[in-house]
Subunit: 124 residues, 2 copies
Amino acid sequence: MAKARAAPLRTCPVAAFQKMISGKYKLRIVWDLKDGPRRYGEIRSGLLRGTAGSSEITPRVLSRELKALTESGLIDRKDFGEVPPKVEYRLTRKGKSFVPVVAAIREWGERHLGEPAALADAAE
Amino acid sequence: MAKARAAPLRTCPVAAFQKMISGKYKLRIVWDLKDGPRRYGEIRSGLLRGTAGSSEITPRVLSRELKALTESGLIDRKDFGEVPPKVEYRLTRKGKSFVPVVAAIREWGERHLGEPAALADAAE
DNA sequence: CAGCATCCTGCGTGATACTG
DNA sequence: CAGTATCACGCAGGATGCTG
């Protein structure tokens, strides 16, 4: 490996990761897509389940996230002809390779965040 | 699948995770602390290496992150008496259990983000 | 159905200055 | 040394309304 390179220039992987998944829905979108391609509306619906049934996610935001994920190379957009509009999103190879990471995150989260229990959670 | 618990109420683990590590430095602080306790100044210095030698992290921000991590139960603050002020931060059990997750993130990041290479990285 | 255009707001982040 | 206080700003993210 001879990583040797004492040049830690560039954003470190962690920072890059943070940037890549910045946004509330990106991780969940990726997770949702792990089961196969999904349409825009399906993703949107899927995002509503699991969280507090708070406000619906706005198209503007979802669109943004989707686009960002596409540009990050995690997902791929497939536009079927037209009328009526049908667009599917699916994980790219890169995206699929990322799934285990999300899985690790979820697993840890379920174990340590699912039951805040006796911890100081005065935040809310 | 016996998913059993049909109660996805509450923020899903992913969202909770996102919230917990929101902030540019939290993940890196945790990572930095994996090697043992560190003092405030050391953490600060450590944060400067690895990223572009951009601006120095402001005390306000670092303080905030540290406090948030403490309240999340990931790290622990140990204040040695006083004069001259000496404070050490160290990972809690919970924090240590989180390290592997960060490791997974870093590993993935190094593999897929370290060398954007031929991908569309027009962003910057 | 799958978006885009415009407006508005909160908060995360940085700069600067001060303290025990 | 290890913070806190105050000011300021950019941008993520929600609300609405429109379109191909």
